[in-house]
Symmetry: C2
Subunit: 351 residues, 2 copies
DNA sequence: AAGAGGTGTGTTATCGTTACCATAGCATAG
DNA sequence: CTATGCTATGGTAACGATAACACACCTCTT
């Protein structure tokens, strides 16, 4: 491996001059620059980032800890993060925790040991020891997607409560009265918030609280399948399902198919989370989250904090989600009520 | 930041002893180990990986350069790579080139500068200057998914030619005679190989070479859409389409829908590449590639090479792909021929 | 003419760790 | 009793880069 020193010798200057030419820092004469660049080209020199980082104690690297990298919602977030980071010369290390607190902690350790400049985190659970660890090592943190009980870090997420409200309200407007909600773990803030939005819409519509059907599970297809099977077996079968994320929706759809139920004729479905275009025949009515924007905003907050000399107060951004009405939601089959017009904010691919 | 030295002072030993305790290298007494571990816990010490890597000139990190991280085929490969790497204590840096040769080169530069121990590469084009660069820097390389003109690196890929042959043969057995193939760029080996398999099947069936309909484009939805539109506008419309990857298939399906054509009644579709289960109502007849295995095998070859003292001759592994018959392929509507029984190797979710 | 300030370059001292060599105690072998 | 080898530890010198300081040479001011 050729080093700065090799280049310096060949160019007949000191290593510092070479360093200055490469980094564009300090003064260098055009003559020196020319000779250095010549030598670099000749030797095919590539700087050793490790040494640079060790000396300067800055890695220009961010850690991004996600709970499920197979979920397009999170890959889209990752893209937003990466684009924003790369625009300022930062690299991103991706870590996938599969919703495991232990794995999360392990990855945070790795990130600290690799001396990343900051960590963007989707916490697997609310009471996070990872956050404590990060704090003791004085690493700046931005929390994505999920709410934090104690607001000691920057936070960026979509409006789960409002989005859920819109979704359920849409179903109510279509004439549904028996609406079930299937979400992830109760300990994850998005679940709680989506249930809160559901409750608000149900109560506001004057529906009997006893008609609320709320099920907590996991944000996985298997869990969605299971919860739906339970729903269908229950005495009062709902006419509409609000799925807490896209995987739950897939599981639900699978269960409905197995039971020979048609969407939306026998059961309406609304989903929190959109999918990238084109993956599926546009079919599902969804609450679309600005995933890319969440990632981008989070990275920008972090970079701003890293660039600033003075300490910055923790900030929280809650981005709007939007209802997109497609073909998986319709008035219930056996309703005599006149469905009110849908209060959709946007329409896409109307059937 | 606490350092080895801080730990050493607190434990009352030399830094080397601390280093040895941490790495389990050399001799250390139980007494020393206890005091060192005590001191580490007390200080919350975390090793500086940067310094370690600089000193040992090994990063225990692999670079993985992919052409499209949004494609589940490649994310599955990535999982295989990561699992195999992590099993041996290696980390993975992911890079996404979007099929751009320039981006690929840029990322390879980054990987070299970060001193990764080896690079796993899906080359964006056949004549790859990135490979030259990697070779001059003496970095071991494994090429994934695509064939290399010059065999100077380890290679792991699925059998594109054989898979394509099986796909087309399946269509022919169903009674199709006018079969079109839509693939990616001609310069990418998978395109060429899939066309070769198509040709072999067509010729073997004794079909007029003039009936071959081959279109090169890109491995994207937009390109699949465009190519299909051209197909439909042509004088001799095919009765079946063989899509070179899943994105091309999505574009094709979109185009068919726009033209009011039903699958498989008006047009059969077979696709190279499977999707993760559950994303779509199992519908598409596909050639499933062992994506996870490709990634795993590639990482294992790399790790083996890194662990070995003696040089290893370049090796090539071609993994079998398998036909999975689902509902998107059926006999052509207006054929009078008796369809031969499908030569499917496996059946899944038969309609 | 003397100081001020910009320009260009070099020297030295680290960043935090491990490679390498040295040393010292003690047991066993011959 | 010396030789050999194992155990346990420490000292020193890098790894390849940059920060900080020093210095020399200009060109302007005043």
């Amino acid at each position: 491996m050729t080093t700065l020193n090799d280049v310096a010798k060949l160019a007949g200057v000191s290593t510092m001059t070479v360093s200055r030419v490469i980094n564009g820092s300090g003064y260098t004469s055009p003559a020196a620059q020319a000779r250095v660049n010549q030598a670099i080209a000749e030797l095919g020199y590539m700087p050793n980032v490790l040494a640079r980082q060790l000396r300067s104690s800055r890695t220009k690297t961010l850690g991004l800890v996600l709970t499920d990298i197979a979920n397009p919602f999170f890959t889209t977030i990752a893209r937003g993060v990466e684009d924003a980071a790369r625009a300022q010369g930062y690299a991103v290390m991706f870590c996938n925790t599969d919703e495991s607190v232990d794995l999360e902690l392990e990855y945070v350790r790795v990130l600290i040991q690799r001396r990343v400049d900051g960590v963007l985190l989707v916490p697997a659970a609310d009471s996070s020891t990872s956050l404590d660890l990060l704090r003791t090592h004085k690493l700046p943190v931005v929390v994505l997607d999920r709410r934090l009980r104690f607001g000691e870090a920057d936070q960026v997420r979509a409006d789960s409560e409002g989005g859920a409200y819109d979704a359920v309200r849409h179903l109510i407007d279509l004439g549904h009265r028996e609406i079930a909600i299937l979400v992830g773990p109760e300990s994850v803030s998005t679940s709680a918030d989506r249930v809160a939005g559901y409750r608000r819409a149900m109560i506001e519509a004057g529906l009997d609280p006893a008609s609320q059907q709320i099920r907590f599970g996991k944000y996985t297809e298997a869990s969605g399948h299971e919860m739906t099977c339970h729903l269908l077996a229950a005495p009062t079968r709902p006419t509409a399902i609000f799925a807490g994320n896209n995987f739950i929706a897939f599981g639900a759809m699978q269960a409905l198919r197995e039971s020979g139920l048609e969407i939306p004729d026998d059961m309406s479905i609304v989903v929190f989370d959109d999918l990238p275009q084109g993956w599926i025949i546009p079919f599902l009515t969804v609450i679309a989250q600005p995933a890319y924007q969440i990632g981008k905003k989070a990275a920008e907050l972090m970079l701003e904090r890293l660039a600033s000399d003075e300490p910055i107060e923790p900030r929280t951004f809650v981005l709007r989600s939007s209802l997109i009405v497609r073909r998986s939601s319709a008035p219930p089959r056996s309703t005599s009520k006149q469905p009110a017009p849908a209060r959709a904010r946007s329409m896409e691919n109307p059937a």
